[in-house]
């Protein structure tokens, strides 16, 4: 449960170091994760692919956010 909460906050693109982020981002992250998970349930996937897909999404969004943030910092 705790892990899922941290995951939603991360997917929303908040910074773990603090000083950057918002509650709207976190709630959008939660909506994103739960809607994808729900959709996969409706399409009849088992728990293995579902956990895998959620994990992939988290890793992917973390990477995208990190790259985007790094790019914006280098332009300053």
């Amino acid at each position: 449960m705790t892990i899922m909460v941290i995951a939603t906050v991360m997917v929303g693109g908040n910074s773990i170091m603090g000083g950057y982020g918002s509650t709207i981002r976190s709630s959008l992250g939660a909506v994103f994760i739960s809607s994808v998970d729900n959709m996969m349930v409706l399409h009849g996937f088992n728990s293995g692919p579902r956990v895998l897909a959620v994990g992939l999404m988290i890793v992917f969004s973390i990477m995208v956010f990190a790259l985007v943030r790094r790019g914006s910092r280098s332009q300053e």
């Binding site: 941290i6 959620v54 890793v59 973390i62 990190a66 790094r70």
Partner: protein, 345 residues
């Protein structure tokens, strides 16, 4: 005697961990006549085999100023792989495959953490879920089981009274990692990026190399721990082993590692794990309910943290006092010279 005193002053956290371990052990040895026997010693070492590995992995991560949350998932993945392939490929091949996979996973994590410059906690939350999913795939969402039970028997054979092949392997691992951390340049780099990352990077350390090494060792330890659990019990579940992360963190903190990074060591990890195991085993011997064990563990952790905070404050206080007295001495010198100098009338 003087050497011992010097060592204690130099490593107060480690000395306190040793003291705590001795206190816990002697308390149970005095209150329970069965505690100080070699059978209990063997049981403690068997627990040490798994928990010690995880404690070691987390100690290294915390020394580097990061934390590896994916350790439980990585262990579960390794356990599933090794149990599934032991029957068809033989135990040694399956073990090598499982450990290679988990080490590789760890190294890739380390690479991405250094490349993306994110905190490890961010990325490992993702890989925690990801590896869980991979483990579910590998196990086909069932509990996998061994059919040939010679391997579990071999792993728990008694050797030299206290040890089994598993715990001997883990002790060897501790020694190798300890030597690596103390005597090689790569080990010192890990301390450097944990204690003062900006300064270390400014001094020319490439962040990628120590990060990859730390997470590869962490993956290796997690994989080995998972394999030992899987092969010892003969079964593996893709959703199991979640408790490893917290248990290992507690062991690492009791061993005197600092959450701020750069402090602590492999010896501390071993002693911390042993203390936790003494406490767990001793309380079970005294027929304590499970929730009370958690309570005592929490109290132990609080004591350690209070001691660490106290010793930091004391150290800062002493340093300030030293500094002030140095300043006074210098001023005294000036004053004397001023008084000695009499301007000619």
């Amino acid at each position: 005697m003087k050497n011992i005193k010097h060592w204690i002053v130099k490593n107060p956290d480690l000395a306190f961990a040793v003291l705590l371990a001795i206190c816990v052990y002697s308390y149970f040895a005095l209150t329970n006549e069965f505690f100080a026997t070699h059978r209990t010693g063997y049981a403690i070492m068997e627990r040490f085999a798994v928990l010690g590995l995880v404690g070691l992995a987390l100690t290294l991560c915390i020394i580097a100023g990061e934390i590896d949350l994916s350790i439980g998932s990585n262990a579960a993945l390794a356990a599933v792989i090794v149990v599934r392939f032991t029957d068809s490929l033989g135990a040694v091949t399956a073990l090598v495959i499982a450990i290679l996979i988990s080490t590789l996973v760890g190294a890739i994590q380390g690479y991405f953490i250094a490349y993306l410059r994110v905190r490890a906690i961010v990325l490992t939350v993702g890989t925690l879920m990801l590896l869980r999913g991979v483990a579910l795939f590998a196990a086909q969402e069932k509990t996998v089981m061994l059919t040939d039970f010679r391997v579990p028997d071999f792993i728990s054979t008694k050797m030299f009274v206290y040890f089994s092949p598993a715990s001997l392997l883990v002790i060897a691992m501790f020694i190798v990692v300890g030597l690596f951390m103390t005597f090689t340049r790569y080990g010192r780099e890990i301390y450097a990026i944990g204690g003062a990352r900006k300064e270390a990077v400014a001094a020319g350390i490439d962040l990628k190399r120590p990060m990859i090494i730390v997470f590869a060792i962490s993956g290796l330890c997690a994989g080995l721990g998972g394999c030992i659990i899987g092969l010892r019990s003969g079964t593996a579940q893709a959703l199991g082993l979640q408790y490893l992360l917290l248990a290992g963190t507690v062991a690492a903190f009791i061993g005197g590692v600092s959450i701020l990074g750069g402090k602590g060591g492999v010896v501390g990890a071993a002693i911390g794990t042993l203390t936790v195991n003494f406490l767990n085993t001793g309380l079970v011997f005294n027929v304590t309910p499970a929730f009370m064990i958690q309570l005592y563990l929490g109290i132990l952790l609080m004591v350690v943290i209070m001691f660490q905070t106290g010793s930091r404050l004391f150290e800062g206080h002493e340093r300030r006092k030293q500094l002030l007295s140095d300043v006074d001495i210098r001023r005294l010198d000036l004053l004397v010279r001023k008084n000695a100098f009499k301007p000619p009338p």
